[in-house]
Assembly symmetry: C2
Homo-oligomer: 198 residues x 2
């Protein structure tokens, strides 16, 4: 019986970055398929009434320490982005566009964008920086910008975001295994358990 | 070198109940002293701008599933209280009163109140139910009510709540080990690590 884990992510979430750093290996070790679900976290916040933890200053400060502890536990590089929060509308459209129209470029794009934000501290609010990051990753920025302007891409991102809300998502990252929802990179152990149970 | 773990808790938090179910054993196994810090979560919410997860319906629904998963992992009984949220002002004053004036009664009181709310589903908003629960636990409800009216008790609860805010607390439960803060029953593994490191 083959299992799947759906991964709802937004590049702007540092917790989504940490989950991204672990989930492919967890899926592989479980013999499960990882289904990438790029969505727009801002849209989910708007629809659910949830908000970023950084809107409570004490919570935002703690979150930085907490993420650093998990990064250390995972053995991955994580640096809080000095330009946070990042407006990820175009970045998420880019992910959807490649999934739909150039699926072989999706992986390199996801790697490049997560690394630019959460390892290299680059300002992905700035289109010229985004262009440089894509170029460095061997991606065709001009072509991607054109794809992001297509209606089918815009509609798809909206639809996935709406689907997330309808399924109970209120934050990022969110994983689904066998109809059960898991919120947060700190629930990856439950995801692993769910994938290994029969 | 002896270690301590401070435990900021409010009876009204189901996550604090789950932490309470595990922390004494974690402290004991680590040879650490557990320092009980009853505080008023509502006061912390007011001071920090944080709010209960249940104020976002999707988050509240998920929280119930999440708590049940941890209860199963811990092997403890947990049932969401049908009278939630509980106004815990008097209950937290009771904890502080016993800590100050009858410390040998503090443990039985904490056990009785947590069990009444998160195992037996009783309505601890109702003073007559509180009286019955205390009586069943062999505690003198009349004497406790009198203690709760004392100014030193009221002041002490306010002072601990204020101290929590000043140290960065924004939710419950919150633990401190060696000056580092850990929020949530889902961070007990980090608390355990902190207590076992040298």
């Amino acid at each position: 019986m083959s299992k799947t884990v759906e991964f709802f992510f937004d590049f702007g979430s540092p917790a989504a970055y940490l989950a991204y750093s672990q989930l492919p290996r967890i899926a592989e070790q479980s013999g499960a398929e990882l289904v990438w679900r790029p969505f727009l976290l801002g849209g989910v916040f708007q629809a659910t009434g949830n908000r970023s933890p950084v809107e409570v200053p004490a919570k935002g400060a703690y979150m930085l320490a907490d993420l650093a502890r998990f990064a250390e536990r995972y053995g991955v590089t994580y640096r809080h982005n000095p330009h946070f929060p990042i407006n990820t509308l175009m970045l998420m459209r880019g992910a959807v566009a490649l999934q739909m129209h150039q699926p072989d470029r999706f992986g390199p794009y996801v790697d490049a964008v997560f690394k630019a934000i959460w390892v290299d501290g680059r300002n992905m609010n700035d289109p010229s920086v985004v262009g440089a990051v894509l170029h460095e990753a061997g991606l065709d920025a001009g072509k991607l910008v054109a794809l992001c302007g297509q209606q089918d891409v815009k509609d798809r991102l909206k639809a996935v975001t709406q689907e997330a809300v309808e399924r109970g998502v209120f934050g990022a990252p969110t994983m689904f295994v066998a109809g059960r929802m898991y919120w947060g990179q700190d629930r990856l152990d439950f995801v692993r358990e769910a994938l290994s149970s029969n």
